[in-house]
């Protein structure tokens, strides 16, 4: 099963006791605030979960994989996620079942 915003809304409704509408608003705002902070150039660290880190990528020559045509990949800023120690070790214990 895939976890979506709706799963988080239900969880917040059950565990925190907000009604569904408030819970939905809260979840939307949680992700919106993260996006705003990243957009403004901040890295975000959630201890135990992981870090969202911005990286500046230099321009590089690339290729259109469909046509083989050479193009320049522009200089850009990307966001990466690095899982924290706790989550990493919990994931490593996952056996694939």
């Amino acid at each position: 099963m895939t976890i979506t915003k709706n799963s988080l809304v239900d969880m917040i409704h059950d565990e925190v006791g907000l009604n569904k509408r408030e819970a939905k608003e809260f979840i939307e705002e949680f992700f919106e605030v993260i996006k705003e902070l990243l957009e403004d150039g901040n890295d975000i660290k959630f201890s135990g979960f992981g870090n969202f880190i911005l990286r500046n990528k230099k321009a590089r020559p690339g290729r259109n994989p469909r046509t083989g045509e050479e193009v320049t990949v522009n200089e850009r800023r990307v966001v990466t996620f690095k899982s924290g120690m706790k989550l990493k070790s919990q994931i490593e214990a996952f056996d694939g079942e």
């Binding site: 925190v16 705002e29 996006k35 135990g48 989550l87 994931i91």
Partner: protein
């Protein structure tokens, strides 16, 4: 700048005047715990407009400690992979 959980909580509390800070703090902790638990139970997380977290499988291999040159046996393992949504990619790259 590097922000941590408590700074995110302050930002979120400012937006959400109806909840006090400890409610926001509790909820944020619940969200992160729930997401961690989902991932280590093998579930993927798909947040529209934000991105997708999924597990990537890495086969067992023999690696080397780059400092000592010593061989290290790595077990088959899973790691978390985050793929930002189109929207997030675009917003993060707003300067270009």
């Amino acid at each position: 700048m590097i922000l941590n959980k408590s700074e995110l909580i302050s930002n979120l509390s400012k937006k959400h005047k109806t909840y006090n800070k400890s409610d926001v703090e509790f909820s944020v902790r619940k969200i992160l715990d729930y997401m961690s638990k989902s991932l280590y139970s093998g579930e993927r997380i798909e947040i529209r407009g934000f991105g997708t977290f999924s597990l990537h499988e890495h086969n067992s291999r023999t690696a080397r400690n780059p400092k000592t040159g010593e061989s290290v046996a790595l077990q088959k393992r899973f790691t978390v992979h985050f793929k930002p949504s189109k929207e997030l990619k675009k917003r993060v790259n707003n300067k270009n």
